[in-house]
């Protein structure tokens, strides 16, 4: 009985690995497994690519002008106290 991760276990600890949240011994175990297992290497790449793609989902970069107007008008009212 060895204490290496199985491929199935690797897919469950990948998020902790990427967050640097695995205990040091498990972190090493993860990296050792990836070094010899092409399938888990591909899975880790897919996860990284998933994160990268999510970061490219379109985002609204500025407030709708009418809303911005209302917020500033609200500030003026607040200032008058």
């Amino acid at each position: 009985m060895n204490n290496e991760f199985s491929c199935q276990e690797m897919t469950e600890v990948v998020t902790n690995y990427l967050d640097d949240a695995l205990p040091p011994a498990e972190h090493q175990r993860y990296e050792r497994h990836v070094s010899y297992c092409a399938g888990c290497r591909a899975y880790l790449d897919q996860m990284r690519e998933t994160i990268r793609q999510a970061g490219m989902v379109a985002r609204e970069e500025s407030l709708p002008p009418a809303l911005r107007e209302r917020i500033v008008a609200q500030f003026r009212t607040w200032r008058r106290g």
Partner: protein
Amino acid sequence: MHAPEPPNSEAALLAALRRGDENAFSALVDAYGAVMHRVALTFVRSNAVADEVVQEAWLGALRGLDGFEGRSALKTWLLRIVANIARTHAVREARTVPFSALELTHEARADQGPALPADRFQGPDAQHPGRWVSFPTSWPTEPDSALLSAETRDLIAETIARLPDGQRVVITLRDVEGWNSAEVCSVLDVTENYQRVLLHRARSKVRAALEDYLTSESP
């Protein structure tokens, strides 16, 4: 020093705000208004309600200005206000999950399904239990590949939109907005551990959706 360091400029901005300086307020709205609106939208899903949440949040911030002690970054403080107001609106919208720490924890505990179906791995009686039946393949990343298309990003956005509330909010803040774990925990009031469970479930589902899409498309 001619150019003030960021913390000083934040302090100067706050002082100006307390004096009622409209330029300082506008600068703040331009810096953080859009992210506040996006965060509100991840909680309430309706533009009109998100608008209300953001407006209320700014009013709350102005009223709480004197109590802001600078222990957290101004941005984090503002986003916590947004999250708190959005939670109460989510309840009014008759949503089942009001995004309390308790509900998020409950969701993290309830949805503990595997990242992948068990049949992707060799069974307990096989020669190598838990080993891949067949390896996942590398995804093509050439400039003209499906992975880089707008359609792919729409697919990701749609997959995220269909996730359970906690998973949706966490993956949006972590991966779409690019926040770190501590920032998400601080705004959502959830432990790092549960936050990571929600993130793991969410990412596993988005990865699976991408895999389906990329392997079923004929190039």
